[in-house]
């Protein structure tokens, strides 16, 4: 079947000029097939036009915009609620995180302090004596670090001696006694204590 729809459409809508209209009408007169197709098309257009002119219920039409406004309001509320939920969740996470970290750090310190508080002075001395700091440290450090500690130890000892000797010329003492030999006049415990204090002060 030829596509005469374009002509049918233009003719029925009155969009043909007089010349085109005449040509089309002559064609209808001369062709039964074209005429038959055109009649079928007109029936279809009539049905379409009838369905186009149907009126909607007035109540329904009047309800469309109010219904839209109500949906808009619900949507805005949902949006604010969502934002609020996110805000609360974020604050909750931050606060919980802060408390967790705080509790963890506090507990650790408290544990250590609590443990030490439970021990007597003799027990603490025992632990320190059993724990040979010098040997432990020198076993786990390289030569350069060991020399560094040795130097700092000597310097600290010199300062301490100067303070305790007072007016006596420290240099005379240092010349007479090799500073490192002072070790032999100190107990092993004293040496370990000095080492650990030096490390705490200077190294860590």
């Amino acid at each position: 079947m030829k596509n005469n729809e374009e002509n049918f459409f233009l003719y029925l809508k009155g969009k043909m000029n007089p010349k085109e209209r005449k040509f089309f009408e002559d064609g209808l007169k001369n062709s039964e097939e074209l005429n038959s197709d055109f009649e079928e098309y007109k029936i279809l257009v009539q049905s379409i036009n009838e369905s186009k002119n149907i009126d909607l219920n007035k109540d329904y039409l009047e309800s469309i915009v109010p219904n839209f406004r109500s949906r808009l309001e619900k949507k805005d509320k949902k949006k604010s609620l969502k934002n609020l939920k996110y805000a609360f969740a974020s604050i909750f996470i931050i606060v919980m995180g802060y408390f967790l970290i705080l509790t963890y750090n506090t507990e650790n310190k408290q544990d250590v302090n609590q443990a030490l508080a439970d021990l007597s002075n003799d027990e603490i001395d025992l632990i320190v004596n059993d724990y040979n700091v010098e040997d432990y440290l020198t076993a786990y450090m390289d030569d350069i670090s060991a020399q560094k500690i040795q130097y700092i130890y000597a310097e600290e000892l010199k300062t301490s001696l100067a303070e305790s000797i007072g007016d006596i010329n420290l240099n005379e003492v240092l010349v007479k006694f090799n500073i490192t030999d002072v070790d032999q006049y100190l107990s092993d415990n004293d040496v370990d204590l000095i080492y650990s204090q030096l490390i705490e002060k200077k190294i860590l």
């Binding site: 596509n3 729809e5 149907i54 329904y60 469309i64 219904n67």
Partner: protein, 182 residues
């Protein structure tokens, strides 16, 4: 030109914060939106839902409208797109539940007052629903909205040739359906 000025004024007033200007635009175009959605989807409930969706889109996007086309063309394009999306969603739903189609028909409110009008509408709707979406789309735009192929091409993004071909097949099918109903 008057229509353009009216639409322009309403949009401008809405952008300036006048909510009632939007309501007036909505009332002006709501029937056109409804009927296009109704013809595409074939039932009132879906058409009503699409009307609400289109109004929501307009509400948020009207500020971006640049008057490159008429407001009606822009609204029509949005309605058409939403209708096609709805049909895609519906065919997925129907795949899983066949009850969906019959339920939507029986739930229809009495939004058309006269029985004769309802029957005429039903006849056309039944025929339209038997067309594939692409053919239905061009058939509705050509015969119900009386758009030219060039206008339909701008709205759908399809070539005039493709539209004419789709319309040709749609027309033949609809004529056949109407003949069989007699």
């Amino acid at each position: 030109m008057q229509v353009l000025n009216d639409d322009f004024e309403l949009i401008k007033n809405f952008i300036d914060g006048n909510e009632s200007a939007f309501n007036r635009l909505a009332v002006k175009y709501q029937e056109k939106i409804y009927w296009h959605a109704r013809r595409m989807t074939g039932n009132h409930l879906d058409a009503d839902e699409i009307v609400q969706e289109v109004l929501m889109v307009l509400y948020y996007k009207l500020k971006t409208f640049e008057f490159k086309s008429s407001l009606y063309t822009w609204i029509y394009t949005i309605t058409n797109t939403r209708s096609i999306n709805y049909l895609k969603k519906r065919s997925l739903k129907n795949f899983f539940s066949l009850d969906e189609i019959t339920n939507r028909k029986s739930d229809e409110k009495n939004i058309i007052d006269h029985l004769e009008s309802k029957q005429k509408l039903e006849k056309v709707e039944n025929a339209l629903q038997k067309l594939p979406t692409k053919q239905r789309e061009v058939f509705i735009m050509r015969n119900f909205d009386e758009l030219s192929y060039e206008e339909i091409s701008r709205i759908t993004g399809k070539t005039v040739g493709a539209l004419k071909a789709n319309h040709f097949y749609a027309l033949n099918k609809i004529k056949e359906l109407f003949k069989n109903e007699k």
